[in-house]
């Protein structure tokens, strides 16, 4: 059994020093890996990335991240990825990594992803160049994700994205903005790539639990959705048996909707 700690959208700013470090250190002995689902910074500034780096430096567990749209805002995403990498974070973008957890191999494939919408209400690769570029960016992200999943040789695959692969975990957001919150192409890639769990952020007003059409459990780990510092998931062979501390998943979406007020 492997314990996955995950949170997205921590949005650290230059003045956020000291806020996330205690969370990371508190995971010692409680989780085997920490996944960050993008939007680690507020404005995509390298100075903010330095704050993130300082908070996760010396983490008692491997830290794996994808970037989010905020981390791209300052056109410094490469620099930000470099700063995080320098602090020991594995930053994924169309790539994957394997963590050895007591002999079990946990594979994580990550991509930022993009919007585009969900089957029946999605953008098409058609029309103006900008529209085509928008949809193609999504399709490319999905293709890279599937490639990264395919490349994994491991016991359990996690797909880590910033944007949402399914609308289930967007419930609570206004339906009109779903196409800006995620894309079904990501879910397609997760299904095809044999993911066992999908984690994403981005939708602050969404809800935590969902599933792809192929049955991959999807969790929206955006910090405001969780309403707690991070989520912990037990995965892997025998997880169902060993997960004695598991909090019963609530079937009522109202619980998720009620928890985060504001964003």
């Amino acid at each position: 059994m492997m314990r996955i700690a995950a949170v997205g959208d921590i949005h650290l700013g230059a003045d956020s020093g000291g806020t996330f470090g205690p969370v990371v250190r508190g995971l010692a002995g409680r989780a085997d890996v920490l996944l960050l689902a993008g939007d680690l910074t507020q404005h995509g500034l390298p100075a903010e990335a330095e704050v993130v780096a300082a908070e996760v430096a010396g983490a008692p567990l491997p830290v794996i991240a994808v970037l989010g749209n905020h981390d791209y805002h300052g056109d410094a995403e490469r620099e930000i990825a470099g700063i995080l990498t320098g602090a020991g974070v594995t930053v994924l973008e169309g790539t994957s990594t394997v963590v050895d957890v007591d002999g079990e191999r946990l594979g994580v494939a990550g991509v930022k992803g993009f919007g585009g919408g969900f089957a029946g209400a999605s953008g098409s690769d058609f029309g103006e160049p900008l529209m085509k570029a928008f949809v193609r960016h999504t399709k490319e992200a999905a293709a890279r994700l599937q490639h990264a999943l395919d490349a994994l040789d491991c016991d359990f695959r996690i797909a880590l994205t910033h944007y949402a692969p399914v609308p289930d975990t967007l419930i609570g957001e206004r339906a009109e903005i779903y196409p800006f919150l995620g894309s079904y192409h990501l879910a397609e890639a997760m299904d095809a790539g044999g993911a066992g769990l999908a984690l994403h952020g981005h939708a602050h007003a969404g809800s935590e639990r969902g599933s792809t059409a192929g049955g991959v459990p999807v969790r929206n780990v955006a910090r405001p959705v969780l309403g707690r510092p991070c989520a912990i998931y037990a995965v892997g062979v025998g997880a169902a048996v060993e997960g004695v501390r598991m909090a019963a998943p609530s079937p009522a979406p109202e619980v998720d909707l009620a928890a985060p007020t504001g964003l």
Partner: protein
């Protein structure tokens, strides 16, 4: 009981066809009109609206076709039975006479495969909301109807004609707060085309940024949705082609109602704290905004300012502008940012009362939380 709707529909069609054949002007009303316009299907009562002078002849032709007239004690309707099904012939709903104009405003619609005039959605809501009273004010029944028909309704007209009823006002308030209908202070975009200028939008450098735009939409809440709904209403009316509403009469009132001088705060009481602190002279690209803009644009731009200003840099804040007053809600990481929210808003929209409901995120660590591990199997 399962057959009840079917029986009701059969009676409905029978009465409608009989009245049509007799050339008696009428409109389908009541909950079946709502059903015809997309609302929930009723389980009892079929209502038709007729002018009082046409009622005797209607009763006569219906009786001739086998229905059984009943003369009820109420003075605002009469009833006929079709077997077990009771059909109301209403000539004074909520104390107002059914008029020729009202019947002309109705839309010819296919109701369970029979074409018949269906009461105009705006008229329908006027009646429905005015029928709410102390012993009958269950919004649980009204809200689904608003959801079902909202884009077919001229809500400003409904507001005006139901202004005397506190129950109608309450229903409309709830609907507006739920973002189902436009807010009361709504000024149609089309009414002042010259005023819409997205000054801040032009300054935005990153067109791909998802969140600010989206969250602005979310922040505007009902404003944005309400407006587009209203737009749809107009479109819908045109598209339907059956709205024979005398536009001069209503449109005129409508226009007057909405000719508010841009930028003037329509006499709102200063019930909330006015933020007057201006901490610094605004930098060039963060100048004061065009306060003449519609509230929803203001809300969107203020939202963006909060996202873009490094002092706050929060995209998740919800900004609502109503009646010129600014409400901001959400969570920021530090108290300094919380206070900066007020500063940024004061600089961007000086003089506007601001209610700062922003809270500071708790700093719990995992260690503080009870063990909560979900097992993915």
């Amino acid at each position: 009981m399962e057959d009840a709707p079917r029986g009701l529909r059969e009676s409905l069609k029978r009465v409608a066809v009989t009245l049509k054949e007799a050339d008696i002007p009428f409109a389908l009303g009541g909950s079946y009109a709502c059903w015809a316009r997309g609302g929930p299907e009723p389980v009892h009562d079929v209502d038709f609206m007729l002018r009082e002078e046409d009622v005797p002849r209607a009763v006569e032709v219906l009786a001739a076709s086998g229905l059984r007239p009943v003369d009820p004690p109420e003075d605002w309707l009469t009833k006929v039975f079709d077997g077990e099904v009771l059909v109301d012939l209403i000539h004074h709903p909520v104390g107002r006479a059914v008029t020729r104009q009202m019947l002309e405003r109705s839309s010819e619609m296919s109701v369970d495969s029979v074409r018949m005039p269906v009461l105009d959605a705006t008229d329908w809501f006027e009646m429905t909301l005015l029928a709410l009273e102390e012993r009958y004010c269950d919004l649980t029944r009204v809200l689904p109807m608003i959801r079902a028909m909202r884009e077919q309704v001229d809500w400003d007209q409904v507001r005006r004609s139901t202004a005397a009823s506190p129950f109608a006002e309450a229903a409309l308030l709830v609907a507006a707060r739920l973002n189902l209908i436009p807010p009361a202070d709504s000024v149609p975009i089309a009414a002042r085309p010259g005023e819409i200028e997205l000054s801040a939008a032009a300054e935005r450098t990153d067109g791909t940024e998802g969140d600010p735009v989206q969250r602005a939409g979310g922040a505007k809440g009902g404003r944005a949705e309400g407006r587009s709904t209203q737009g749809n209403c107009l479109e819908g009316s045109k598209a339907a082609g059956n709205h024979r509403r005398p536009t001069v009469q209503r449109g005129g009132a409508h226009d007057r109602q909405n000719t508010v001088e841009p930028g003037t705060d329509p006499g709102q009481p200063e019930a909330v704290t006015a933020v007057t602190t201006v901490t610094a002279s605004p930098p060039g690209d963060q100048a004061e905004m065009d306060l003449a803009e519609a509230d929803e644009y203001l809300a969107g731009e203020l939202h963006d300012r909060l996202a873009e200003d490094p002092r706050v840099a929060e995209l998740g804040l919800e900004v609502v502008v109503a009646d010129g007053r600014i409400l901001v809600e959400g969570e920021v990481a530090t108290d300094v940012r919380r206070r900066a929210v007020a500063d940024v808003l004061a600089e961007a929209a000086p003089g506007r009362p601001v209610r700062n409901e922003v809270t500071v995120t708790g700093r719990a660590t995992v260690a503080d939380e009870p063990a909560s591990v979900e097992t993915i199997s």
